[in-house]
Symmetry: D2
Subunit: 336 residues, 4 copies
């Protein structure tokens, strides 16, 4: 057993809400973007990647989002449909918004950067009127992601989705995915991330992301247990805190802490690591696995994705992850 | 005893946060504004009026707000200072914002309207950086008001103030004061009012205001007890619901319900009734009075203000309210 | 004869286009606005004042403008109608714009200031679609004023009106009326004032206003003849340059220069001097008077207005101006 | 001789002002963009293409523009430098603007479309303060392009450049390049195109573009001579009107009309035809060629570019054009 009880008898397993965008990955790698000439187009955006990853693992997935009324928007919707994700709750913007773009630059495995196009993007036009109570009621789980909180009306759409999820006992995952460039003011992310996190069951983020959330409440030593207990005082049951190369730790409301596995891999780029981790970790929890096993599955998925050129296209199947783990050495749980 | 325990040993009794503006009341009454020619200038804005009312009753009050850098802003700050309100936490806008204006039109006692100037107003420029944790920590109570939630960065400033108030056990009053024209989208007020109300100790509003807040969660019969219990499930201890001429009811977390008094008065205009009620009701609670006595004091104060030309200037002293009550007949509590 | 030939056989004499707003003049004078308490409401705005002044002198006048859909807008339209100004081409804003306000503060006759409310104002929402070619074709003269050039779509509406006026030989007056606070960038007024002035027949402004217009073309010594000749190279026939207490000078395309009269008066405030001057000067030209006589009439009108509390309400009749001149001493023309 | 006298003794031959952007051309052609996967990056934007085309023909060229402070902006500046275009007057945006993008879709030679990213673009942030009088004074010719008129502050920068060009007798070319999606209101392009065209020496556009400019002034039969004479009444000496497959016609202030040549070619896409035409036509005029010869050179250049994948990269050299013409049949001048 694990620490999350998913409601039974729901039509869907998993719905993600928020950003749907396009990655344009430079085909010529190990050089600055000033010198690249061609790009390959992929579906991107943290919750999109997680939904694609989950679907590839066999999770019955859906998406609540908004796309532009153009070739880019239609490409995204078609891609999700082709990958067995329900798109009935993806609406089409009618205001002339565009699809967000992320041009990726891979100078070296350690030095990757992104050039974002985020003005007037369709994903942030998602509005409360686009969120269906019935749809959320029919799913076992809902995933929210921080970027959708960065602007109105997308922010309000997420808070409404949270309200519906709590009302109908749909389990809520929060992948923090904090991107400073999305926010106009430095004080706002802490305020809105906290208001959202109070309503979530599982919170996943880096130590730096949790630090950002605690800027007003105080946790001077960046103590993981202080962090986890703050959210256990609200609705959280599991808090996953990632410490980069020092590994990640899952804290539970029942007082346990688990250390995640780390796998050796040949890194092409770092993009997509968090999204693939989240999709496989969520998959594990939804299978009823132990937290340790779900974390291992997440780490293995991340290791696979960072060795490939894309994020969404590279999301592995269950068989690929199982095979990858079998060929690797794994780390141990540090505490019962 | 009553149902709210105020922290002892605080420098201040009461701090209001939010709107500071100017009322321009037509001197010629009982006619449309097209035909009025002269106006008299008063300090206005719901939390400003409540703070002025409280100060006039002897409550040691302060204000967290932002004023324009012009004659209007200086008039407001001077007026508050002259009325014994601490203005050290009122900052001055440096972006060219103006003071909000409310031109009032009194066609008849039953037909009053307001013409608002709310573009680029200084009060909504209040930002998280203007909110002092230390200041809130030093006060027994904090009052928030709905209009300050209607736009950024004022909205975030209020959420930060709430965070500080909860952290330091400062009692929070929420005067709903819902004004539809302040909001760009009809779905947003329910979302933000609810996020704020979850953190408040005492919530005061009309039945219509509570209905607005419940548009997504559902309370089809507009049942007061359903409403009150929803907030008792969060942090509320007292919920006051006003039913216009049918009187107001105070619900307590301990299961009691009290009906408020109604006084006969000669009505000049309806503006200011809610603000004067709130200031005298809060005064009563802070004196340790019973809820019934505090409600009666609130009703009497409201009856005095609606018989006069202004809101802020008309706020009564303790002696005036006591004298008014002595000359009136009062209604009874309907349930222990 | 004078230097402007007005087309005959037109239904209207004079149309002004642009700003319609409200002046709120402090009733308590000789003190800062922080200490004033009551205000009186008047119609204001430079082209509105000029149209009112012209109408009071018997000129058959109309207005192209936009007013707010509220009591302020209706007050303005009613006032103009009551003063025999055709309002058929004043449209009503439907976007929620407000009427611009000017709170006036008279600290002393020499120290007057204005507190403006110019956010989201209806007058700047005037759009090309609100400008009727037929209306401009039916008038002898059109007056434009600089503030209407300060923002879109009002700016484009004025350029379209100029296009129609030139097409149909309607004489165009340009009262520069430069107000720096109306402009977002310091470079823009010179650019747009120049593009407009190129199409005008009579240009009236202060030396400082003409300096502003020449910031890119160069006239280092602020030489009046250089200024006048620049515009005579376009479409201008008369250029009036005001030098404050040193008097004003009218230059003509035919090479003449005339010095205006100055009258002694008891000054209450300086507001409205330029508008009353323009209306009486235009009246004189339309009567076929000499430039000198028209300038004298303008100066006398200005002297009357600055001795009174309002601008629009104080605009004098022909009889009042004639009587005022009769009681005064006048200056001489300085050059043939 | 031809009809334009270029000033002698100038350091530069030719300066273009305005749009610098990126074309992302789908590598997979003859299919909708939903189905394309890779894109190649090129410098784009009409005035950029014309400057690149002119430079490749040996014209000493420069550019006045603004680029984003990122990899895209640096790519553009480097490309221009590599192609012998002076970039000293290209400034770098500091407000967080992005480079405009044009994703091109080639469904068939007849059906090409563009998906534009034009929100918050650096090229439209070009401001009057970025325009150097000295730079324009040192060039024989200046080229403006319509898109730069579509928004502030770029619009004002162009009007200021026109003012400097007229002041210093720099010949001004206006390539209309009307793109409806750039304009918020349908009435504005006619207004601003006309204000600009009044100050230009050579105006080049399609019949539809001239129709758009005449929407308020009237030319119901879309008569070319009416159009040309309108601009000859201002500052124009040559007006080129393109009638698609019916050929283009050059009208001169001296009353002549010339029909342009048409060449047969295998069309890959239609993008870039106008820009390559303009660059070679301007080159011809600057060589002192007859209008007919310059038009033939323009047509040949256009024929070359539309048979290739890119616009800017495909701009031909003098030798390539000469060789192309030698291998083709040409049309005749229709009237002396």
């Amino acid at each position: 057993m694990n620490h999350i009880q998913f409601p039974a008898d729901r039509k869907m397993d998993f719905i993600a809400i928020g950003r749907l965008c396009i990655d344009l990955n430079a085909n010529e790698i190990n050089r600055p973007m000033e010198e690249t000439r061609t790009f390959t187009k992929y579906v991107g955006g943290s919750p999109a990647n997680i939904a694609i990853g989950a679907a590839r693992l066999g999770v019955k997935s859906g998406f609540i989002g908004k796309v532009s009324n153009d070739q880019m928007g239609r490409f995204i919707t078609q891609y999700l449909t082709d990958h067995q994700i329900d798109t009935t709750n993806i609406s089409v913007d009618r205001t002339g918004a565009v699809t967000g773009l992320a041009f990726t630059e891979i100078k070296s495995p350690e030095e990757c950067s992104i050039l974002m196009y985020r003005d007037n993007v369709a994903d942030l036009k998602l509005a409360p009127g686009d969120v269906s109570e019935e749809y959320i009621k029919q799913s076992k789980a809902l995933l929210i992601s921080g970027t959708a909180l960065s602007a109105s009306p997308s922010r309000e759409a997420v808070f409404l989705a949270l309200e519906y999820a709590r009302k109908h006992s749909t389990v809520v995952f929060f992948d923090l995915d904090y991107r400073p460039y999305s926010w106009a003011y430095t004080t706002d992310p802490a305020i809105y991330y906290s208001l959202a996190a109070e309503k979530c069951d599982v919170i996943i983020g880096t130590r730096e992301e949790f630090d950002m959330m605690e800027q007003f409440t105080g946790n001077p030593g960046s103590n993981d247990e202080v962090t986890a207990n703050k959210w256990f005082g609200c609705n959280a049951k599991i808090v996953v805190i990632k410490h980069g190369s020092n590994g990640s730790f899952a804290y539970t409301k029942t007082g346990q802490v688990f250390k995640g596995s780390i796998f050796k891999t040949k890194v092409l780029k770092t993009f997509g690591a968090g999204d693939s981790y989240a999709s496989a970790f969520i998959y594990g929890l939804m299978q009823g696995w132990s937290i340790v096993r779900a974390m291992e599955f997440g780490s293995a998925s991340a290791s696979i994705v960072i060795s490939k050129h894309s994020c969404s296209d590279a999301m592995p199947t269950v068989e690929e992850i199982v095979e990858f783990i079998a060929g690797s050495r794994k780390e141990e749980q540090i505490s019962p």
